[in-house]
């Protein structure tokens, strides 16, 4: 369908997003460097307070007050720096170039209008001339995802199951032929079997349409099933990034290691599993200097109290940890393509 254009690459550089609180402006995302290679699916995993949702919004330049983007750039091939776009240009970019699938799609669907009407609204607001063609594309997409297009377009949001709503969300994000797609918690609130189906659909649609996809989630399992590369966020920073199988098989950051150990698993020794001590930070409890993770870290050292670890790139893997690269403190290369 739209395989003519190549998938764009996305480069996030030094992104910092702050939120205004009674205690001043606090960073939800701090100095994040992240590259989404063209045509790949990147999964960003983090718990509450990690800043992952804020990161996702930044790709659309959609951070609302009391938050604001304080520094950095989000470059998308063919679009430039999204953060410099304003007004009409920005509106057009959202939807046509960058598609966003909301968490639990019911938040983005109007309960009072049929899906078809909302589709037409979307088309009109983006000045699509051939609305019939748009509806045809939508039906094709829905069929591709295993649904009866005509019936779905005639339905209201509450007549569809959770899994179907999520697919409608995906359809609406793709129908304007966006090449970059951001999915925010695509599998939350869905049954296990439906989750597996949705992940499969994301993978298939991604490949078919040659997209560059970003999946934001707290579920490591979901990322493992669908993504090519995995980035782990904690306290507003990317602490580890690399190919999925490598990061999971050989995690280098203590948080990643702890997270994997803390996931309830189907097999394996029950006594080996351990919850991480402490709890994830909130905006107000983030330390202003030193490593954000040190309170819960088992490899805590003196340098962790004062120096924030730099992200070090080695063999295509990025880790930000003093303990992981003790003998490599001289190398301060940040990740880039």
């Amino acid at each position: 369908m739209s395989n003519e254009t190549a998938a764009p690459g996305v480069r996030i550089r030094d992104l910092t997003v702050v939120y205004k609180t009674p205690a001043g402006e606090l960073p939800a995302v701090r100095g994040v460097d992240l590259t989404l290679a063209p045509g790949t699916i990147t999964g960003v995993v983090g718990e509450s307070g990690s800043g992952k949702s804020t990161l996702a919004l930044s790709l659309l330049n959609a951070v609302q007050p009391p938050g604001r983007i304080a520094a950095g750039s989000v470059e998308i091939d063919g679009l430039g720096d999204v953060l410099t776009l304003r007004g009409e240009d920005l509106r057009r970019a959202r939807g046509r170039q960058v598609g966003y699938v909301f968490q639990a799609a019911q938040n983005s669907l109007n309960p009072l209008k049929t899906i078809g009407k909302q589709l037409l609204d979307l088309g009109r607001s983006h000045e699509v001339e051939d609305l019939r063609g748009l509806v045809r594309d939508a039906k094709d997409l829905l069929a591709r995802m295993g649904m009866d297009g005509a019936r779905v377009l005639d339905s209201y949001q509450h007549e569809l199951s959770g899994g179907m709503r999520q697919r409608v969300g995906i359809m609406l994000a793709l129908v304007l032929n966006a090449k970059v797609v951001v999915l925010d918690e695509p599998t939350t609130a869905l049954d296990m079997i439906t989750q597996a189906t949705i992940l499969r659909i994301i993978r298939e649609v991604h490949e078919e349409r040659a997209l560059t996809t970003l999946v934001i989630t707290h579920d490591v399992g979901a990322v493992a099933e669908v993504a090519d590369s995995l980035a782990v966020m904690y306290g507003g920073r990317v602490v580890e990034h690399g190919p999925v199988t490598e990061v999971l098989g050989e995690a280098r950051h203590p948080y990643t290691q702890g997270l994997i150990r803390a996931i309830p698993r189907l097999t394996g020794d029950l006594s080996l599993a351990r919850a991480l001590p402490g709890r994830p930070p909130t905006l107000g409890t983030l330390p202003t200097q030193g490593c954000v993770f040190r309170e819960r870290c088992e490899r805590r050292m003196e340098v962790c109290e004062t120096d924030e670890p730099m992200a070090v790139n080695r063999d295509g893997r990025t880790v930000a940890c003093h303990a992981a690269d003790r003998h490599l403190t001289l190398i301060k290369r940040k990740e880039f393509v």
């Binding site: 001590p277 402490g278 709890r279 107000g284 409890t285």
Partner: protein
């Protein structure tokens, strides 16, 4: 604010941590209220206005002699330093009339508000919580109350009842007007009822009395407070309107009486002379409503601990 996750626990049983006694909670509550009011200057303005009127109602008549002085030489006098709002048809200072006339209006308003909210809340809570037969019965009652034509009934009553005391007026208006609140409280109760903490309270076997009084009611506090304040304004309009229409007998002076006399006796709508006489009570009503509306804005924050503490 790091959390100590402490499986073995090193506490001494029997020791109560600081900050849990009732007195402390109450003190913190009022401190929080002050903080909420200070957040927006409009709220403080509202508090000042309402306090002013409250003072007027309590102390107003004490500032003036029981019989207000009449000045036959200054009938419908224009505003001046001595009479900021001029005088009425008897030469009595209009400002004095407004100040002394406040008590009746405010007392009635308060009485009405208290009765409507108390009755309406009780009925709505019981209906919403127990559902089933209680609900049907109480809602039929509410429907009847809402169907009663208030104005004609008052007209009829006024032929036999003199309504001397503001409390009598308040009682009648109150009994006539609780239907709307009952409905609203019932629907709030129905939705709150399904919340986790209410279900947990039921599952633990806590008595209905406790659940309604200590769990449901505090959660609905902002709603009830808002309704109470708005009911005051509604009651003020109702009785002022009735006095203005001449439906209720003039036993003493109040704002509604003033409006009636200004328009029908003084021709305030046609000649400028009695205009201040008309405007003064109107401005008073306006100010009171404004003050109440500005305070209502704070209600949500006052009763929600999360917003209060922030």
């Amino acid at each position: 604010m790091t959390v100590i996750v402490n499986p073995e626990g090193t506490i001494s049983p029997g020791a109560l941590p600081a900050g849990t006694t009732r007195a402390t909670l109450r003190r913190n509550f009022w401190r929080g209220v002050w903080r909420v009011l200070r957040r927006k200057p409009s709220r403080m303005a509202g508090v000042v206005i309402v306090a002013l009127f409250a003072l007027m109602g309590v102390a107003g008549p004490l500032l003036y002699p029981a019989q207000l002085p009449r000045d036959d030489n200054a009938l419908y006098a224009p505003p001046s330093l001595a009479h900021p709002f001029g005088t009425d048809f008897e030469g009595t200072d209009v400002l004095a009339l407004v100040v002394t006339g406040a008590r009746y209006v405010l007392l009635t308003g308060l009485a009405t508000a208290v009765i409507t909210v108390a009755l309406g809340t009780l009925i709505g809570l019981v209906a919403g919580f127990h559902r089933g037969r209680w609900d049907s019965l109480l809602m039929r009652l509410t429907d009847m109350n809402l169907a009663i034509p208030g104005l004609p009934l008052l007209l009829v009553l006024s032929t036999v009842w003199k309504f001397e005391s503001p409390l009598e007026m308040g009682l009648v208006l109150g009994v006539l007007g609780w239907g709307g609140i009952a409905r609203a409280v019932r629907s709030q109760t129905l939705s709150l009822r399904e919340r986790g903490f209410i279900e947990a309270a039921r599952g633990l076997g806590l008595p209905t009395r406790h659940i309604i009084g200590r769990e449901l009611l505090p959660s609905m506090a902002p709603y009830i407070a808002m309704n109470m304040l708005i009911a005051v304004t509604g009651a003020v309009y109702a009785q002022v309107g009735l006095f203005f229409l001449g439906v209720l007998p003039f036993e003493s002076n109040n704002w509604g009486v003033m409006l009636n006399l200004a328009v029908f006796n003084g021709g305030a709508l046609t000649t400028p002379a009695a205009l201040p006489y008309l405007l003064a009570p109107l401005i008073a009503i306006l100010l009171l409503t404004l003050g109440i509306v500005l305070i209502v804005d704070a209600m949500d924050e006052i009763f929600n601990p999360r917003l209060r503490e922030e």
